[in-house]
């Protein structure tokens, strides 16, 4: 079943086009990783998809509802995990959840249970009555997620849920997402962390300049875009190795030396590892070889020439 879709959606701020005839379809049970650099239109896409902001043209469908996609009935089935930590600092963790459960119309026993469940889900049961002021960044993030889960949504939108937190909490959140996936929840996930998308997304959508420029599974994307191979070779004495000779081996594009590690980038399928190794062995001992597989980061770089990561530094 189709959970949500956008057809030819155009969104403009003044004369700036932020979404340019965007088409997107999300099926039930999918986990979609939405990638894109700063200003690509990711957040705007989420905001139009949830009816937060109006748009100029096109059509949004939620749960098959074309006429009134943003009715309260449909909104009750959506959970939004915001990019900022949007919780009340002056209310306890439990009260925060009660607030959102109440806004979603849960009452009495049902509310109590769902709040308890959400707390357990993110592992904050033992801190239910503590003020979030005293929480660590990761715990706040987890509470931030829990606030979107109390009403057991079928479709969860997560806008950078793991920005700036410790690896442990991040793992916790990723595990939680996997658990949600197993329960059949559909998830739209934006992040800068490629590993996360690689680990959990069933489909990746890459945006740039208000348009979706590529979509597919992680493997598909990597396969189509793979155009170079990276090999790192640890040697006993890098100084002895004639670099210009290495560079002239067919297929080799670049040779970098870092201490006693040599990194060689060559064309895809060049099959030159033997020659490289024999060349190196003639001058120094080889301690270890490590071949880097291309990841989504490389996919992104190939497609746009931009780094996805540099945004993290700004935050």
């Amino acid at each position: 079943m189709m959970i949500a879709s956008m057809q030819g959606v155009v969104k403009r701020y003044g004369s700036n086009i932020v979404l340019d005839y965007v088409d997107l379809a999300i099926d039930e049970g999918e986990i979609i990783g939405l990638l894109g650099p700063n200003g690509a239109g990711k957040t705007t896409l989420i905001q139009t998809l949830t009816g937060m902001i109006p748009f100029e043209k096109g059509q949004v469908t939620l749960f098959g509802d074309v006429k009134a996609p943003f009715s309260n009935k449909n909104k009750e089935k959506i959970g939004l995990v915001t990019q900022e930590i949007t919780i009340f600092e002056e209310l306890t963790a439990k009260e925060n959840l009660q607030f959102f459960a109440g806004v979603y119309g849960l009452k009495g026993e049902e509310k109590k249970n769902s709040v308890q469940e959400a707390l357990e889900f993110v592992g904050l049961s033992d801190r239910a009555n503590k003020m979030p002021k005293k929480f660590s960044g990761g715990m706040k993030r987890r509470l931030n997620i829990a606030c979107a889960l109390t009403h057991r949504p079928r479709f969860i939108i997560m806008d950078e849920p793991t920005v700036g937190i410790d690896p442990q909490s991040r793992n916790y959140i990723l595990e939680a997402v996997k658990k949600l996936r197993e329960e059949g929840t559909t998830i739209l996930y934006t992040t800068h962390y490629m590993e996360e998308v690689q680990a959990i997304a069933s489909r990746v959508v890459i945006m740039d300049q208000g348009q979706i420029i590529k979509e597919g599974t992680v493997d598909e994307l990597i396969k189509t875009i793979q155009h170079e191979e990276k090999v790192k070779i640890d040697v006993t004495d890098a100084g002895q190795i004639p670099l210009n000779k290495l560079e002239s081996v067919t297929g080799v594009k670049q040779v970098n030396v870092d201490g006693n590690q040599i990194m060689i980038i060559s064309e895809a399928n060049s099959g030159n590892l033997d020659r490289i190794l024999s060349l190196i062995k003639a001058h120094a001992g080889v301690l270890g070889i490590q071949a880097d597989k291309p990841n989504l980061e490389d996919v992104f770089l190939t497609l746009t020439g931009k780094q996805l990561r540099d945004k993290v530094g700004e935050e």
Binding site: Q47, N72, I85, L91
Partner: protein, 228 residues
């Protein structure tokens, strides 16, 4: 009504707010009587200032929601922006009404001469709503809680002064007397003068009507929903 209850809870959960909400009104009861002016004890003449302060303190809760992005969550939740605003304002107005009741009732118990306490209560309640609406419109201009509060303090001082709450308006130069009418505080001080000297009830109703007109205008201006 979840938003309503939690709004009440949040209003009381912060120490500074507690002081503003309880200590100041109670303190106002015990302020002395002036010699020639004002006609009511100082605490009652200046209660409008407290109401304005409390108004902005309460309204910054909405500003905080916006700054933190909670409004984004609520935009996706099955509640309208209108419900969100009305429930918040309802909670705030209940607090302000309670305060007015405490101040008037306390004053009567303390033995102040308040002429028509019941009408004074009506006047204070009307002004409370005006103050809330003004604060709501004010915070719709700002992103930072601190800045909006600090600048508002200066603005409060000006409108309170020019509206004739700190000094009798008759002492002003002619042009300022005319300009004073523009400020909602002028109508509060007019109302207080009516409580002491007035007898034509229609005049008092007009004064309250103007305060309500201000309330609606500022509510309309402040009701804008800003996501980013």
């Amino acid at each position: 009504m979840t938003i309503f209850w939690f709004s009440l809870k949040r209003s009381f959960s912060n120490t500074t707010n507690l002081i503003f909400l309880t200590l100041f009104p109670v303190g106002a009861i015990f302020l002395p009587m002036g010699e020639v002016w004002p006609f009511l004890p100082y605490g009652y003449q200046f209660f409008g200032i407290i109401v304005l302060f409390v108004g902005i303190r309460l309204a910054t809760i909405i500003l905080e929601d916006r700054a933190k992005g909670v409004v984004k969550r609520l935009a996706v939740a099955p509640v309208t922006h209108f419900q969100y605003l009305t429930q918040n304002l309802l909670a705030f107005s209940i607090i302000l009404i309670l305060q007015s009741i405490i101040v008037i009732y306390g004053g009567v118990l303390y033995g102040h001469e308040l002429y028509h306490p019941e009408w004074l209560l009506v006047l204070f309640i009307s002004f409370s709503f005006t103050s809330l609406a003004v604060a709501l419109a004010w915070i719709s201009l700002y992103r930072s809680k601190e800045t909006s509060f600090l600048v508002y303090m200066s603005v409060i001082f000006l409108i309170v002064f020019l509206g004739g709450l700190l000094m009798p308006i008759e002492a002003f130069p002619d042009i300022l007397q005319r300009i004073a009418v523009i400020f909602p505080t002028y109508w509060l001080s007019e109302g207080i003068v009516w409580i002491v000297f007035g007898n034509d009830i229609s005049e008092f109703l007009l004064i309250n009507g103007v305060l309500w007109l201000y309330t609606i205008i500022f509510l309309v201006i402040g009701s804008v929903r800003r996501i980013n």
